[in-house]
């Protein structure tokens, strides 16, 4: 029937005397191990932070650590109170969010609902460009362009303040807020809009009373992601927030957010010493904070996705 050879033997092998295919089995094991990698790394990060951070919380009782307002890592004995850092993180995050959310959501509405497709398509790469800017470059821009302007405009002693950092952070969270909100708006089914137009609504009324409410959960996820980004951002705040150790009272004060505290302290910290552990403890708090924010964002996004697909 077949003039060419069946000699490699496999073709006539029995279905049951299966060759074991060891190579394939090993590869599948390797693939499985790699599949677990994300979990392993995430747990690894948590483990390291706990292991290196907990000693600090033993040394300094946790409430003193969290609510203490003095950070004197090299005095004897050292004092580790991170409230100034925490408050600084809150200030820059608040400033960033207050600026980025209305602008970002507004831009998303404009792109998704009002701008012609061509305009939206042209703007997209520009927004993506922004998301590709390294944070050190944004810090640099803040340092040389924004901070002198802030100093003059507000008549401050220094332009390196929480506000300056917040403005730069706002720019950095815009891409994610715009793109996630835009996606959420575009996912609102056309019939929703048609139905509202059918009732004689103006375009703006349709947008405001139909589209935005329908996309609200997606938009709030976008906001959460922006917040997460602002909390975790390091270089920008390290370079332009001012780096003052005192408890900041207003956003116009120079301040030192948690990420900056780690970055500027780790180089001087004696490995395994009290400051070293204290910085890891700050890392642990940061980790948990961003984990919390991201989990909520993921939850909300998931729900938004299901809203128009499963129903």
């Amino acid at each position: 029937m077949f003039p060419f050879d069946r000699s490699n033997g496999a073709a006539s092998g029995s279905l049951l005397s299966a060759r074991p295919r060891w190579g394939e089995k090993i590869i599948e094991k390797v693939i499985f191990a790699n599949g677990m990698l994300a979990i392993i790394v995430l747990l690894g990060v948590l483990f390291i932070l706990l292991r290196q951070g907990i000693p600090a919380l033993v040394e300094t009782p946790i409430h003193k650590f969290l609510f203490g307002t003095a950070w004197y890592p090299v005095s004897d004995p050292p004092t580790f109170g991170i409230l100034p850092f925490f408050v600084a993180t809150m200030w820059v995050t608040v400033v960033s969010t207050v600026l980025a959310v209305p602008i970002g959501v507004g831009a998303a509405i404009f792109l998704a609902e009002i701008a012609p497709r061509k305009v939206a398509d042209a703007v997209k790469p520009i927004v993506e460009l922004l998301s590709g800017f390294p944070s050190v470059v944004m810090g640099f821009i803040g340092l040389v362009l924004l901070s002198p302007w802030i100093q003059n405009t507000l008549g401050l002693n220094t332009g390196l303040t929480g506000i300056t950092a917040g403005i730069m952070l706002a720019m950095m969270s815009l891409p994610i807020i715009v793109s996630v909100s835009e996606d959420a708006l575009r996912a609102v089914p056309e019939d929703f809009r048609q139905a509202a137009y059918g009732l004689g609504s103006t375009r703006w009324e349709v947008i405001w009373h139909v589209c935005v409410p329908s996309a609200l959960s997606g938009i709030s996820a976008a906001v959460m992601l922006g917040v997460g980004r602002a909390i975790g951002e390091t270089m920008t705040v390290l370079m332009v927030a001012g780096g003052a150790l005192a408890l900041p009272e207003l956003p116009v004060d120079p301040m030192m957010p948690m990420t900056a505290a780690i970055a500027s302290g780790i180089g001087n910290a004696v490995q395994g010493g009290p400051q070293y552990h204290a910085l890891f403890a700050i890392g642990l708090i940061l980790f948990l904070l961003t984990l919390f924010v991201n989990l909520i964002a993921a939850r909300v996004l998931e729900r938004q996705k299901r809203k128009f697909t499963a129903g």
């Binding site: 077949f2 003039p3 490699n8 073709a11 279905l15 049951l16 299966a18 060759r19």
Partner: protein, 276 residues
């Protein structure tokens, strides 16, 4: 022509047929579920060697599901669950320890939509043999030529073997897919509506091809096209959904019998176009 048994129709439930000769493929009280959904219900049928068996029936009655049971393609669907016995050459192919890869090598499949790989015609045909360890260039050349000749495609593509498999016409693509299956020397070829995406001329070409191939291969073909079943097949199985939406075998027998003298009223209605 093969010996074919007479049809016995069980009016209460399913047709149950035992050909006199040895069966190449055999199903016994097979049920298939997709999650909660009962897609194939209590089907038993035997398929003998070197014949063409057509599976016909209205859309959604479970023809593809049934066909995919023979080479365990349903394994790819996470929700699929099977009960009952499916045998190939007397071996229960769902028993533990079965080498599914080996099974699929012997029971190849052609799909409804031509799906040549995005590589050259030559590489498409060689793909199976290469994976099965044939490296020798001469041997591969031989396989390509023979498979394409068998698939009645050689003359049309012999000068452009290095062109993409996607660059040829739909009918040629489907024959390329058949050649790709032939290249691994299967014993059974399952075809799921192989002509539904093709024009009438391409369809006739594939039908001719099937007749030729039936001398050396056991072929099972799912088709929507009644004339096609009548033209090419030796045996015909007619499936329909019952009241519970599960597909069941209404009648199975010699094609000439089914089309000229159906035993079951539903078969007759379907064949004469009164529904479906």
């Amino acid at each position: 022509m093969n010996q074919v048994s007479m049809v016995t129709v069980n009016n209460k439930n399913n047709a149950n047929v035992q050909p006199e000769g040895e069966a190449r493929l055999r199903m016994e009280n097979v049920n298939l579920y997709y999650g909660e959904f009962h897609a194939v219900k209590d089907i038993s049928l035997d398929i003998s060697s070197s014949s063409i068996t057509a599976i016909i029936g209205p859309s959604g009655c479970g023809k593809s599901s049934l066909l995919r049971l023979f080479n365990r393609m349903n394994d790819l669907i996470p929700s699929a669950r099977i009960e009952g016995l499916v045998e190939f050459d007397g071996v229960d192919i769902y028993q533990p320890g079965i080498d599914v890869v080996e099974l699929r090598k012997r029971v190849g499949m052609v799909f409804q939509k031509p799906n040549p790989f995005p590589m050259s015609i030559y590489d498409n045909v060689c793909f199976g043999p290469r994976r099965h360890g044939i490296r020798n260039k001469r041997a591969l050349d031989d396989i390509v030529e023979k498979s394409l000749i068998q698939a009645a495609l050689w003359d049309e593509v012999k000068d452009k073997l290095d062109q993409s498999g996607l660059s040829i016409s739909g009918g040629q693509q489907q024959r390329l897919c058949i050649a790709r299956v032939l290249a691994v020397e299967p014993e059974v070829i399952l075809m799921d509506e192989p002509c539904s995406a093709l024009d009438p001329i391409a369809t006739l070409k594939i039908e001719d091809l099937m007749r030729t191939l039936s001398a050396s291969y056991t072929i099972v073909i799912v088709t929507h096209n009644m004339q096609q079943a009548a033209r090419v097949s030796d045996m015909t199985a007619f499936l329909m959904v019952g009241d519970d939406r599960a597909g069941m075998l209404v009648e199975y027998g010699q094609t000439s019998e089914i089309f000229t003298n159906p035993k079951n009223k539903k078969t007759e209605d379907y064949i004469t176009g009164r529904f479906g």
